[in-house]
């Protein structure tokens, strides 16, 4: 039985007898439905939400239903590692700064070593363009020995390959150009002051 006089005698159950509160304001002239009184007595929203929701929906496909995530099996080695070497405290501001500086310094060192291996020819070029002196002579001799060692390992090839490709592109001429095959425009060039590198 219900509290309303016009309600049928037969209870409406199992259909819902209380509608959840609408999130929208009522339209102009709209009266509250017959369950107005019951709405006041409706359980709080949390309780409604907390109700277990049935997973049977007529229009739904079984594949749409949420499934519990598969438990990730713990990596025993990882667990052992964490047990043996527990992670330290997260670094503070100063620690982060020091970490970034170390990263930058390592980048510079790696790049320098890389260039010393693959680009030693630049050092030789530089020393040959300097005025003679004990520094340049020493650097030149060291660079020469180092360059021979690197060349025997083939470390000079990448630079040479790039250089050769670049030279070919630079010397390319239009087929109808009067300079094609004449060595390019350098013949008409005036000298340009350059500073040795």
């Amino acid at each position: 039985m219900t509290d309303r006089p016009d309600d049928p005698d037969t209870p409406l159950a199992p259909f819902p007898t209380a509608l959840p509160q609408s999130p929208f304001p009522p339209l102009d002239g709209e009266t509250a439905p017959y369950l107005e009184q019951q709405e006041i007595e409706a359980p709080p929203a949390e309780a409604v939400v907390a109700e277990e929701v049935g997973d049977w929906i007529e229009t739904a496909d079984a594949h749409d239903l949420p499934t519990a995530p598969e438990p990730v099996p713990a990596n025993p080695l990882l667990a052992l590692g964490r047990f043996a070497f527990p992670p330290g405290e997260p670094p503070d501001e100063e620690g982060l700064a020091a970490r970034d500086r170390r990263w930058t310094s390592r980048v510079i060192v790696v790049a320098t070593v890389f260039l010393l291996i693959f680009n030693i020819a630049s050092v030789q070029n530089w020393t040959r363009q300097q005025a003679p002196g004990w520094v340049t002579t020493t650097v030149d001799r060291l660079a020469e020995v180092w360059s021979e060692q690197m060349a025997s390992l083939g470390a000079d090839r990448p630079r040479e390959t790039v250089r050769e490709g670049y030279e070919r592109a630079r010397e390319a001429r239009w087929s109808a150009s009067p300079l094609a095959g004449e060595g390019g425009p350098e013949g008409r060039m005036s000298g340009t002051e350059t500073q040795t590198r």
Binding site: L115, R163, A172, S190, E193
Partner: protein, 467 residues
């Protein structure tokens, strides 16, 4: 000591590791950077290190007096004296010969020929830059925009810091002095950004600018009468690309070098050849100079506050003096007048048509670029007759003899780089930031190897060193 040289590479490695090993004591770190900057500057001419020190002491003293002065009149007097002293230094070293020569010619024309005292004064490298920096410091303290430096050391380092010392960017006191207060923090992002800027700058300077300069621009401008329209047009476009790649490369390497030492410099270029008006061009080209001219010349002249006619006059005077700042020659004055004149026309156009879009953007870009190129003819030519020869040759149709597929690729590539995403370098730096140091080191090494493999032997000084 030029940036793209092995000598600078060794110098920078030493400075980098020593500076960061002194990170526990900021004062010592700054002192070391100051000494390193003087060593860097002394590579050109050690005598001018004294001038640099004198200029810093002068500006520090004047700013300290201004900050302590109570009366507005005295503050005004001191700021006037400070600016005048800076301009005197600039005038003596940069413009003395020019003005004496002009005065001699003028006197000869009116029949009062005199032997005026001509002096062979060597132009200290970067004097225009550090003088402007000194002026901005004194004026900013006067205006209350920046407090006076806490020590003479700070002012000396502000004016002498080697990344920006010889060709900018013109870093304001309000940008750099607060960074001197404590040991800076170097983040991975800053470092990645710095590496990229240095690599990109090296490529632009040693490959694009050098090749175009040696193989096309220098020969054509050496004897313009020997070439036809196609070669001259290509040379003018090539010079536009060359000067951009040359100067922006210096700025990039300066910003990158400073970033690796933990300091942040303002941006100096923002894809200038995609500007759709001359005003837009000056918001993208040598931004630190154009904003300096705006704040310390255009605004004190009255800016746009005194009506249309006055604002046109102010912008014209500003650009004219901006032209003269570039060099003591009438070609530079004419270059400034061209830029000022076009900006006046643009202002009048805006006054007449309002914000209505009269011409499509792409037409604006093309027209602006060609006006800028016309200006570059004046800028590159050693004299007016030579500039006239270039202009006359543009109407003389002959077969192109200088332009090769390689040079054309460099010109087109140099222009197309203006249509890359506006913050491409920053974006790539953010993307590379999480990379392990080994990967990043190999990438940096490989990039530098590529540049080293293709660059010509030797490197010409940066164009803006002469200013």
């Amino acid at each position: 000591m030029l940036f793209p040289t092995l000598a600078f590479g060794v110098f920078f490695l030493f400075v980098y590791f020593t500076a960061w090993s002194l990170d526990r004591e900021n004062g010592r770190r700054k002192l070391f950077l100051l000494l390193a900057s003087w060593v860097f500057y002394a590579q050109w001419d050690w005598r001018f290190v004294g001038l640099l020190i004198a200029s810093a002491v002068l500006n520090w003293g004047v700013a300290a007096v201004i900050a302590r002065a109570d009366q507005a009149g005295r503050r005004k007097l001191w700021v006037g004296l400070g600016v005048a002293a800076n301009l005197l230094i600039l005038g003596v070293f940069k413009y003395y010969g020019f003005f004496v020569e002009q005065a001699g010619e003028l006197l000869a024309r009116v029949g009062w020929e005199r032997d005026l005292p001509l002096l062979e004064i060597v132009l200290p490298v970067g004097i225009s830059f550090f003088t402007f920096q000194g002026i901005s410091y004194v004026v900013d303290v006067y205006r209350g925009r920046t407090p006076p430096a806490k020590s003479l050391l700070d002012v000396m380092l502000l004016m002498s810091f080697f990344p920006h010392l010889v060709a900018g960017p013109i870093v304001r006191a309000s940008d750099l002095l607060p960074q001197f207060d404590r040991v800076p923090r170097l983040t991975r992002e800053m470092a990645a950004h710095g590496f990229l800027l240095i690599g990109w700058g090296l490529f632009k300077k040693t490959v694009i600018a050098s090749e175009l300069s040696v193989r096309l621009v220098d020969p054509v401008f050496f004897d313009p009468s020997a070439y036809g329209a196609l070669d001259l047009t290509a040379a003018v476009y090539a010079y536009a690309v060359q000067i951009y790649c040359d100067f922006s490369a210096y700025s990039d390497m300066a910003i990158g070098t400073a970033a690796l030492l933990g300091y942040s410099f303002p941006r100096n270029f923002d894809q200038p050849y995609r500007a759709k008006s001359m005003q837009d061009f000056w918001r993208r080209w040598h931004i630190s100079l154009s904003s300096w001219l705006r704040d310390y010349l255009y605004v004190p002249l009255g800016g746009g506050r005194k009506g249309l006619v006055r604002s046109c006059l102010n912008v014209f005077i500003t650009m004219l003096l901006g032209g003269l700042w570039h060099g003591a020659a009438w070609t530079f004055v004419a270059w400034g007048a061209l830029h000022g004149g076009v900006q006046v026309i643009e202002r009048l156009g805006r006054a007449a048509f309002g914000d209505r879009k009269v011409i499509p953007t792409w037409i604006g870009v093309i027209v602006t670029f060609h006006i800028v190129c016309l200006g570059w003819i004046l800028f590159r030519s050693e004299s007016f007759p030579m500039a006239m020869e270039v202009l006359a040759g543009l109407g003389r149709f002959e077969a192109a003899t200088m332009v090769t597929p390689f040079l054309l690729t460099l010109i087109v590539g140099g222009l197309l780089m203006h249509w890359l995403p506006p913050r491409a370098v920053e974006g790539i730096a953010t993307w590379l930031k999480p990379a392990p140091s080994l990967t990043m080191g190999l990438l940096v090494g490989a990039a530098l190897l590529l540049v080293e493999a293709v660059r010509p032997d030797g490197v010409a000084p940066f164009i803006y060193f002469q200013f």
